[in-house]
């Protein structure tokens, strides 16, 4: 073998090769079911599966559906833009189409499409049986699907959100966008973030704890590396978005005025618009890399495979990606150069923006040099990946203009941004489509038609440049506006033609896949000669349990130990569970019902009663399904037996809990940050004028005592469990429950008093909508109270089980609950001084 073939290199500490054998003798059990799963040709299989490969296929198919939905919206408004004016859609229709296109593409297509591939291939590349928490993986998918359905429902409830995908304020506050559909769209995003958070925790535990022996982080395949960094970014970035969406939905549902600007005499919050941009872009800029990194991983994998050359500078490529992931949280204000932020901070963020482009330069040169050093095979996956690189270079260079403060003054809010943004984001999609072709034989067991694939690439690439490049020329067109100067008409018409060519190119892809599934050639285990990661060592499609034994890289290349010799830790229990689907469906019903609650009340009459009923049924169903899911016997795969640095000594569930809490730190951090920002913008010490004299520290101090004491009783519960004292365990948990309830009762008394006080300054009480101080107070402490309520529900469940003798031989569930409860306590330690003392 030549030194250019990655599959044959000895381990050099930088890349883990696999055995050269074409296929290992593994019997596929896919069609026969297995592990309690019905066969793949039944609908039931897809409703109850928790297997990562099935979930990967579900993600992929669903995301392609949303691509078509969002693509049709794009074709509608591109047709509208044939000439300047409101056109066929009308003003409201145009705004909805543009907004929904952006939201659906960014949230419901781009990342889920990448995570279809990640679900399928990351466990295979790591040498794992499945993800760490298979049922949570299924739950992530169903939450994603139902959140998308909820968004689609919003079109039929007056109007969906119509203020742009960035949802700037005050444009989207209820005064300007009063429709129930807009509220549903916001709640759909909340549900989507729940899906993302569950998925992030699951992937992080899996990738850190379930790698095969010898599969060190340095040796991990590059696609898996990009997913690892993506989920770390997702964990923290989406928590900030969740904070933004909770504030947004509270303004719409319960009537807070957090994001209210001065509207018709209503209380003003001068900092509202700027606060939104901070929260949104603190999420939004990492989101660019969250979307792009998996595409980068596909590029690197396919460049290696189809050039027959290991990625040049692989180690530095990884270092560059780590730097970008860190820097991605330090550039968000370059989206705000036209706002009132000060010049010093603008200059600082211009510098960080230039800084983040440097690691990307290294990655681009690495990819280019890999093709120069190798011998390129121009297959469809490579063509898409190479096309993506070219498009990304254009997108990157045009983005530099926007990162410079002075130039941004000119370009911001124009079609230059639209063009740049699409060259980057849809450039990423281009690589992901290459990834779909690359792994299609592995996922389906069938080869796609190469000629049709190349036709797809040709029409796609021409269509892409026809639709987006003219936008650079007609850049003076204002963004999201359907009127443009007459001299730009021809360029908009070219773009519209390009959009239809781009859309039509997907018909070739769908036909190709349909024909290949129907009568395509059977795919071998390794259809690409120089493919080098572990998924290519097993049959196409892989069997349910992935590998014929326990994967092991410690010998220098992939080998398999026998299951029995390894202690028989195979993931042998049932893989079927209906509860993830049921939980997500219950959540969908609850949120649909909640959308009927507008500004604190349901509509009068039957309509309001229906929505109130849906809310009640949904919440009860959610509680019931969660309890049933917790009670269901289900054994996930183990972890920590192979490479598990740096979490070898932390169990899967405990690590999952800590990672979740880290995202909750950002959620509460964003809430506290918002409060600090609003208070600074109002004048920190002038804030007291917005608060009644009756809002004193005493109720907060009492609640501090109650919560601290409840933390102590949780500690006592764990000590009792360790000492095998059932009575002590139950008594401590009951005490925790009583203290938690007392906390809520004290809070309710306090709120009731504040709502109904009558003073000169607050003649109608201090309510949620009274002013920005009351909004921040009730919402932030209310979010904390919601955490207390969740904790109390868990406490009740623990009490019931402890009463029956649980946790004496395994006290870990009590410990994991304690981690959560103490965190809730810690949050209060900061809320108490901020909202009661200072």
């Amino acid at each position: 073998m030549s030194e250019d073939t990655p599959a044959d290199e000895s381990v050099d500490g930088e890349h883990a090769p696999v055995a050269a054998a074409d296929a290992l003798p593994v019997e596929s059990t896919e069609d026969d079911g297995g592990h309690g799963l019905p066969p793949t040709w039944t609908i039931k299989r897809w409703l109850v599966t928790t297997n990562h490969k099935d979930v990967g296929i579900l993600y992929t198919v669903t995301s392609l559906f949303f691509l078509v939905a969002a693509g049709v919206l794009a074709l509608l408004f591109r047709a509208n833009l044939w000439t300047s004016g409101a056109g066929i859609l009308g003003g409201a229709g145009y705004n909805q189409a543009v907004t929904a296109h952006g939201l659906l593409m960014v949230f419901w297509f781009l990342s889920p499409f990448a995570f279809g591939l990640a679900n399928y291939f990351v466990p295979l590349q790591l040498g794992a049986d499945d993800l760490a928490f298979p049922r949570l993986n299924a739950l992530s998918y169903w939450l994603y699907l139902f959140s998308g359905v909820l968004f689609l429902v919003s079109f039929f409830q007056g109007s969906t959100l119509a203020g742009g995908w960035t949802m700037y304020m005050p444009l989207n506050v209820p005064a300007y966008m009063p429709w129930q559909g807009a509220t549903i769209a916001v709640l759909a995003l909340v549900m989507f973030v729940a899906s993302v958070t569950v998925s992030s925790v699951n992937f992080l535990v899996t990738m850190h704890r379930m790698r095969a022996a010898g599969m060190t982080l340095r040796r991990m395949p590059i696609f898996s590396w990009t997913i690892l960094l993506t989920v770390w970014m997702m964990l923290f970035a989406f928590a900030a978005l969740l904070a933004a969406m909770v504030i947004f939905s509270a303004d719409r549902i319960v009537g807070t005025t957090y994001l209210q600007y001065e509207i018709a005499g209503a209380p003003a919050n001068e900092g509202a618009a700027l606060l939104w941009t901070h929260l949104f872009w603190f999420f939004g800029h990492p989101e660019v890399y969250i979307v792009f990194f998996p595409a980068l991983g596909v590029m690197a994998e396919t460049f290696q495979t189809f050039s027959g050359r290991r990625l040049v500078g692989r180690k530095w490529f990884i270092v560059a990606m780590v730097l970008v992931a860190l820097q991605s949280f330090l550039v968000w204000m370059h989206h705000m150069f036209l706002t009132a932020i000060n010049l010093e901070v603008k200059t600082l963020f211009m510098a960080t923006t230039i800084g983040i482009s440097l690691p990307f330069d290294l990655m681009v040169f690495s990819l280019i040099y890999t093709t120069i050093k190798g011998k390129v095979r121009f297959t469809t996956p490579f063509l898409f990946s190479f096309g993506a690189l070219l498009l990304f270079i254009i997108g990157g260079i045009t983005g530099v203009f926007l990162g410079a403060v002075v130039l941004d003054y000119e370009f911001r809010g124009t079609y230059w941004v639209v063009a740049h943004f699409h060259y980057v984001m849809v450039g990423g999609v281009t690589a992901l489509i290459g990834g779909l072709y690359y792994w299609f034989p592995k996922m389906t067991g069938k080869m796609y038609d190469e000629t049709l694939g190349k036709w797809h690439f040709g029409t796609y690439f021409v269509g892409f440049n026809l639709v987006y490049f003219p936008m650079f020329i007609a850049w003076e067109t204002p963004r999201r506006v359907f009127e443009f100067p007459p001299e730009h008409t021809v360029w908009h018409q070219v773009a519209t033609v390009g959009a239809f060519v781009l859309g039509a190119s997907f018909l070739i892809m769908f036909y190709n896949f349909y024909r290949s599934l129907d009568r395509g050639e059977d795919a071998s285990a390794k259809p690409w000669e120089y493919a080098s990661s572990a998924e290519w060592t097993v049959p196409s499609p892989p069997p349910l349990e992935n590998f014929p034994g326990v994967p092991d890289y410690t010998g220098g290349s992939l080998s398999f130990r026998s299951q029995e010799a390894d202690g028989g830790t195979a993931h042998e229990a049932s893989h079927a569970s209906v509860w993830p689907l049921a939980v997500a469906l219950a959540g969908f019903v609850a949120l649909l019902g909640l959308s009927g609650l507008q500004q604190g009340s349901y509509a009068p009459g039957v309509e309001g009663a229906v929505y109130a009923g849906l809310t009640g049924v949904g919440v009860l169903a959610l509680l019931w399904t969660l309890v049933e899911m917790a009670r269901e016997p289900f054994h996930g795969p183990g972890g920590g037996e192979g490479s598990a640095w740096p979490f070898a000594d932390v169990g899967n569930t405990k690590l999952g809990m800590w990672i979740f809490l880290a995202s909750d730190v950002v959620l509460f951090g964003a809430f506290i940050g918002s409060y600090v920002f609003i208070r600074v913008s109002n004048g920190w010490r002038d804030w007291h004028h917005l608060i009644p004299e009756a809002h004193v520290a005493f109720p907060g101090l009492v609640n501090t005592y109650l919560l601290l004491t409840s933390s102590f009783t949780v500690v006592l519960a764990l000590v009792a469990a360790e000492r095998n004292s059932r009575r002590g365990l139950v008594a401590s948990l009951v005490a925790t429950f009583v203290l938690g309830v007392a906390f809520l009762v004290n809070k309710a008394i306090e709120w009731e008093h504040l709502f109904h006080l009558h003073t000169d300054a607050f003649p109608t009480g201090w309510e949620l909508s009274t002013n920005v101080a009351s909004s921040t107070f009730y919402l932030t402490t209310g979010l904390h109270a919601a955490h207390v309520i969740v904790g109390l529900v868990i406490t009740l469940y623990l009490i019931a089980r402890a009463w029956n003798g649980a946790y004496l031989d395994d006290d870990r569930p009590v410990e994991f609950f304690g981690l959560y409860w103490h965190f809730v306590d810690i949050v209060w330690l900061f809320l108490f001084p901020l909202f009661y003392i200072l």
Binding site: V680, Y705, D825
Partner: protein, 88 residues
């Protein structure tokens, strides 16, 4: 000291510190408002570290777990301070 005694002592200290925070505000008053604010937030931070370190057992977990939580905290602080600074 047994673990239970240690946990009990920590509970008493946390209780006292919570009470002290209310007193700190009164002690520094309006003239030294920012000193008082800083002191109160430092006490909150100390209490949080103690709860995380002992009640959540972070002290006995691998440092990597602490790093995960601190990463979230740094992100939240970056947002808070940079956003507030941007309008000063």
């Amino acid at each position: 000291m047994s673990r239970l005694k240690l946990y009990t002592a920590i509970y008493v200290v946390l209780f006292v510190l919570a009470t002290a925070q209310v007193g700190i505000e009164g002690y520094f008053g309006e003239e030294a408002y920012w000193v008082g604010l800083s002191a109160i937030m430092v006490v909150s931070a100390v209490k949080a570290v103690v709860v995380a370190g002992y009640y959540q057992h972070l002290r006995w977990e691998p440092r990597s777990v602490t790093a995960v939580v601190l990463t979230g905290l740094v992100a939240a602080l970056a947002l808070t301070f940079a956003a507030a600074y941007s309008i000063l």
